[in-house]
């Protein structure tokens, strides 16, 4: 431990702590802007400066480690003045259109000005010009960028994709893709993690709010909405609720009050995905074990950020991907076929909206594969943040809503579907079903949780031994299914490098593009700290355990769907509506041309 004095108070803190961390542990708040706990330490904004006795200049407290006997003052006239001037300098190159900025009231720069007591903006100078750069998922407005570089850290070090880096020099510095290339021409996965950490309005999801209001107001349209599992444990944060508060019922009511005609649950097609993907996996394993050719390991395909990443980074390994569409596009495809037939609506008059924790899903729905008979499976994707805005805009008192229900036939779901929202969840859900199908016995884990693959570690693995299978699966007797789970694209690269070298020991891999899975997706409420991530994760498992129905294959509406419409898993109809193929893109889009 190191002994230091902060503001006259003697304290001991762990060796290696920065001044900022030491102050925080002792309930002293030092204003800061570019710093992001556990993620980004760069010292670019200088707003966290403090006085250190014996040091010639003010010190950036986020960068300087404590030393024995250090005497620190965080609240002197000199420090306060310096912070205000630094803040005003940042403002001198920032458009002051706060009232009409989409980050109004949720902007870290704005909040900090308030905290610092800044009441002037004395410096007028040249302004950075930035054209808005649109892609289906992410919009960049570099005139608002304050060069904190959090997005660079997340894009390069957390996700290991490296789309964003500082370009040019000095006043002309911009954060962006190489050589000012538009973001929709480069190998961006659209995971949106940069939009979660951006403190201002420079990086955000591409707006779908206007399109959705228009559809709701169009009397000719049957507007169908569906909600991903991760929304129900996170959207409460946008209304001031404690992270991890489950609001499944309020969400259904809010959507109905907004004017959606049918309120469905993406969870339903998560259950369906397990049937389709589980069948696909067993088919591949059977082929491999009985002398046929099959590509293993098979990798899950629910996360469109992961999909776009692998299409760019490993275009030659796409056969490893399950051919299943992601659950929300499955639901869209079924709404516009199975359900449209039932209620006698022309699919062209149906408008499907997906509420997703994800920015990549906005791109996903624009893929040509995600349509049937010329009609897109899903018409619009709203992030969790966008939906919260619409609920506020509609004047709905979210906190006091009664709990509502999701509509059938696409609304019932098992606990296995809930855990699709968290890393390890898709794998666990698949194992609950596949193991039982193969052995006739329940998956032998406490509360059905496959403990080795639960949690936030980068790569998790488990071995599942199959003994005494039922007659149809005798070929699996004594076989150990090796599975691996990762979340975040850095972990995905490790597992894919193994596959590319032919050294992967696994049979089944789950990849989610964002660290922790969809609970900390690019469209989720800001901020996502490690603590908040853990609370959302716990909530997902609570939601699962609170249900009677815990296994996808026990969902009666899924059974009914097969009886009435799809007939058989991986059958003709399934392939037409629920499965897809992938595009070799290459690191520089060289496979599909620029």
């Amino acid at each position: 431990m190191i002994n230091i004095t902060i503001n006259g108070k003697q304290v001991s803190v762990a060796e290696g702590s920065t001044i900022l961390e030491a102050a925080k542990q002792n309930n002293i708040y030092i204003p800061n802007l570019c710093y992001l706990e556990g993620v980004h330490k760069f010292g670019s904004c200088r707003l966290c400066v403090v006085e250190v006795e014996g040091a010639r200049n003010l010190q950036a407290s986020c960068m300087v480690p404590v030393r024995e006997g250090m005497v620190i003052k965080t609240n002197t006239e000199k420090v306060r003045k310096a912070r205000k001037v630094l803040y005003e300098l940042i403002l001198s190159d920032h458009p002051k259109d706060c009232l009409s900025c989409e980050r109004n009231q949720s902007c870290e720069l704005q909040e900090l000005g308030n905290r610092l007591g800044v009441t002037e903006a004395r410096f007028e100078g040249e302004k950075s010009v930035g054209n808005e750069d649109f892609s289906p998922s992410i919009t960049r407005d570099m005139s608002k960028c304050i060069l904190c570089r959090r997005c660079i850290t997340v894009c390069n070090e957390i996700q290991n994709v490296g789309i964003l880096n500082a370009q040019n020099r000095g006043f002309k510095t911009v954060v962006g893709p190489a050589m000012d290339l538009p973001i929709n021409t480069v190998n961006c996965a659209y995971c949106g993690q940069c939009t979660v950490v951006c403190p201002v309005g420079a990086l955000k999801e591409t707006d779908a709010i206007q399109d959705v209001w228009k559809a709701i107001n169009d009397k000719k349209k049957r507007v169908v909405v569906q909600v991903a599992p991760a929304i129900r444990v996170a959207i409460g944060e946008e209304f001031g609720l404690e992270p991890g508060t489950i609001v499944t019922g309020k969400l259904a009511t809010a959507l109905r009050e907004m004017g959606f005609d049918d309120v469905f649950d993406t969870n339903f097609t998560a259950d369906l995905t397990i049937i389709e993907e589980g069948t696909e996996f067993l088919t591949r394993v059977k082929k491999a074990l009985t002398g046929g050719e099959a590509t293993l390991p098979m990798i899950t395909s629910c996360s469109p950020g992961w999909i776009k990443y692998v299409e760019h980074a490993f275009p030659l390994e796409l056969d490893h991907l399950s051919t299943c569409k992601s659950p929300h596009t499955m639901l869209g495809a079924l709404a516009k076929s199975y359900y449209a037939e039932k209620i006698n609506v022309d699919p062209k008059d149906m408008y499907v909206v997906s509420i997703m924790p994800c920015t990549a899903k906005k791109f996903e729905i624009s893929r040509p594969e995600m349509q049937n008979n010329g009609v897109p499976n899903v018409d619009a994707v709203l992030t969790t943040r966008e939906l919260a805005k619409m609920i506020k805009e509609a004047g709905i008192d979210f906190l006091n809503l009664e709990d509502g229900q999701y509509d059938n036939p696409l609304g019932l779901s098992s606990g296995a579907a809930d855990i699709f929202g968290v890393t390890g969840g898709v794998m666990e859900a698949a194992l609950r079903t596949v193991y039982e199908l193969v052995t006739g016995r329940e998956l032998p884990f406490d509360k059905l949780h496959v403990a080795p693959i639960v949690g936030l570690e980068q790569i998790k693995t488990a071995d599942i031994l199959i003994e005494n299978p039922v007659e149809a699966y005798k070929f699996l007797d004594g076989f150990t299914v090796k599975v691996a789970v990762t979340s975040g694209l850095k972990g995905a690269k490790i597992l894919l490098d193994q596959i590319a070298k032919g050294e992967s020991p696994y049979h089944f891999i789950e990849v989610m593009g964002c660290p922790g899975g969809c609970i900390s997706g690019g469209g989720q409420p800001r901020p996502t700290t490690p603590e908040i991530r853990q609370k959302r994760l716990d909530a997902i498992y609570r939601e699962d355990e609170g249900k009677q129905l815990r296994k996808s294959h026990e969902n009666e509406y899924v059974t009914k769907l097969y009886e009435e419409f799809l007939k058989t898993p991986n059958g003709h109809k399934s392939h037409e509506l629920l499965h897809t193929h992938y595009t070799k893109r290459g690191k520089f889009n060289e496979y599909i041309g620029e």
Partner: protein
């Protein structure tokens, strides 16, 4: 590093692009596992290829296993690197304090007239690339300018045409 540079200077102009890329590939192979060697590779690639267009940056990014945005970040940070074709010779007029005071700006103005390009540009005939420098360490000889490695001291704007005629 000097070895590759020499090799380059004697071969440039005789090689086709494929041969240049092959030599850049050799450079990458040699440096790719050395921490912090991107700048050196870019330096040598520029001396082999003449400049660093996007396609070449992609080639280097791929070979060095680095994101393209990082490579281009370095290329656009340093004024030494160019993403446009460069002239056969580089003129650098010093605009450090001493040269500025002694009329460096007049040299710039006159050169813009003679060469018919702005600072940073390359003449139509690809003969000269025209740049300014911040102090070339020849303050006692102000105003100074360099053409490639040769320093011209106490340059009079009226002498410029005669100097350029030597190239």
């Amino acid at each position: 590093m000097s070895c590759e540079e020499k090799k380059c200077q004697c071969c440039c102009g005789e090689e086709n692009n494929q041969q240049k890329y092959d030599r850049i590939a050799e450079v990458i192979e040699k440096y790719k596992n050395r921490e912090g060697s991107l700048i050196q590779v870019l330096h040598m690639a520029q001396s082999i290829f003449g400049y660093l267009p996007l396609e070449l940056q992609k080639f280097i990014a791929e070979g060095m296993d680095k994101p393209l945005s990082e490579v281009s970040g370095v290329v656009t940070f340093y004024s030494f690197f160019s993403t446009e074709p460069r002239g056969e010779h580089t003129i650098r007029v010093c605009l450090g304090t001493a040269c500025y005071v002694r009329g460096g700006k007049k040299l710039v103005d006159r050169l813009e007239e003679i060469l018919e390009v702005k600072v940073g540009g390359t003449t139509k005939d690809q003969k000269f690339t025209f740049e300014v420098a911040r102090c070339i360490g020849a303050c006692g000889l102000a105003p100074a300018m360099m053409i490639d490695d040769v320093v011209y001291k106490q340059v009079n704007p009226d002498k410029l045409e005669a100097i350029l005629a030597k190239y």
